[in-house]
Amino acid sequence: MLGWLTDPFGGAIMQRALAEVLVLALACGPLGVWILLYRDAYAAESMSHGMLPGLVVAALVGAPLLLGAAGGVLLAAVGIALVARDERLGGDVGVAVCVSALFGLGAMLALSPAAPPRLAELLFGDLLGVTAADLAAAGALAVGVGVALAAGSRPLALAAFERASAPSLGARPARCELGLLVLLAVTTVAAVQGLGNLLLFALVVAPAAAALRVGRRLRTVLLTSVALAALAGVAGLLVSFHLRIATGAAVALCALVPAFAALLVPVRR
């Protein structure tokens, strides 16, 4: 039994993958809790999809995926902001229009004859292909996100709990929302190499949803979410190793198991 747990991590590839999922859990766990408390899940999912063209362009020209992801997120954010400026359309429509268009553009670029066959990697990530440099970059970004969320937890809580009085207590709700979206963009950039454009969101939102369902205090919820995200990462790697299935997908599915299980737990107050 112990061998079943430890044998997969004998090689450098799996060790790097393990380190990658653990550092990502550090950012995704708490970030997801705040995203859900701010009811920003839709924008969060969309942002990761909207950066596909940036990723594809990076893959086409051989630039680091991190750079492509950063450019893609920036493009998506600008597009959404521009469309959302029209009051008749509003934010949701802006997100839907921009993200669909950008995702289509990315798919078109990726499926063109000139493109290297890496679309699957962009969409679903490649935890086993993570290099030491990728790991260092993702680690630095993830730790930065974790520290920023911990430092900003009081204003974030004030604005999410009750917006009207937040300024008189020392928080700026608009700044909190913007900061959260920036951290989401950074996390997306950090996680895309390992988990891919379509799957990384599972590690952001699913552990947080489970933790919010069972936890009654903010600190408990945040710690539970990190623990569940880390657990999902480790379990996903093990499952993928032993069952020989795609790694990113296995991690995403393992993250979703506690979220569905938590739905069966009655909410306590």
């Binding site: 430092a151 999410a160 709990f161 009750e162 009207a164 300024p167 207590l169 919010l212 205090r217 903010l218």
Partner: protein, 245 residues
């Protein structure tokens, strides 16, 4: 000396569309001011101006210090994972730098504030699981922890149970004795009549002064318009439903 002084205040949420006009009044330390008016009459807009958050604003505001704001309880998230004590502790966030943990002093202040509003026994209960009146008292406790010279309260007595209403009114009395100034938005004319000053708003200032001289049928009619019901014997009551958010 006034703790709150407002002169010729007008303003709103967009340029050219004043939500409230021509407000001029002053309140001293230890005074409770009832702020009366129909829904949309400008009570919340006045509070936002006093908090320094109104986008468009003309006129003058002078305050003895940054005010605390007590919102209506239904504005707060019921699904937020916090205890009553956590909410009261939020009152100390503003004066605690982000790198400093909240210490024993803050916790004692928060517990003390919950005790003052009669909720020491439920300090560790989840906020969302408390009754509406208890939640309103927790939000009042948070403002007590804030320790502000001026408190703005948005209909703190609307729709709360009798025990909570009595507890809130008792704390009003204590705050008055401590020399703090309270502005209380309310629909209850009888309640306002028992306080020190009344400010009547209907998009503009209708009247301000001692309740006995201010809350006349004519002023109330101008304040509430069609929402006013005059009872037998000349007593005025206000037929305003609860805020629908």
């Amino acid at each position: 000396m006034s703790a709150v002084r407002v002169a010729a205040l007008s303003g709103g949420y967009r340029p050219g569309q004043d939500a409230v006009r021509d407000v001029t009044f002053a309140a001293g330390p230890g005074q409770v001011v009832g702020v009366l008016g129909p829904n949309g009459g400008g009570k919340t807009t006045l509070f936002r101006a006093l908090l320094g958050e109104l986008p468009v604003q003309r006129g003058e505001i002078a305050l003895a210090g940054a005010p605390a704001y007590v919102p209506q309880t239904e504005r707060a998230r019921l699904d937020f994972p916090v205890s009553a004590l956590d909410v009261a502790l939020m009152g100390a966030y503003g004066r605690t730098p982000w790198y400093r943990r909240l210490g024993r002093r803050e916790r004692e202040a928060a517990r003390g504030a919950l005790d003052r509003v009669g909720l020491a026994a439920v300090a560790d209960e989840t906020f969302g699981g408390l009754s509406g009146g208890q939640r309103q008292r927790v939000l009042l406790a948070r403002a007590l922890v804030q320790d502000a010279p001026v408190l703005l309260l948005d209909e703190p007595l609307s729709g709360v149970d009798g025990v909570s209403a009595a507890g809130i009114e008792r704390v009003f009395g204590e705050l008055r004795d401590e020399g703090r100034t309270l502005l209380v938005a309310t629909h209850d004319v009888h309640q306002a009549a028992s306080w020190d000053r009344a400010l009547c708003l209907h998009g503009r200032q209708v009247a301000f002064g001692k309740p006995g001289e201010t809350l006349t049928p004519a002023v109330l009619r101008a304040t509430y318009g069609a929402e006013l019901i005059v009872l037998e014997g000349g007593d005025a009551a206000v037929g305003v439903g609860h805020h629908a958010h």
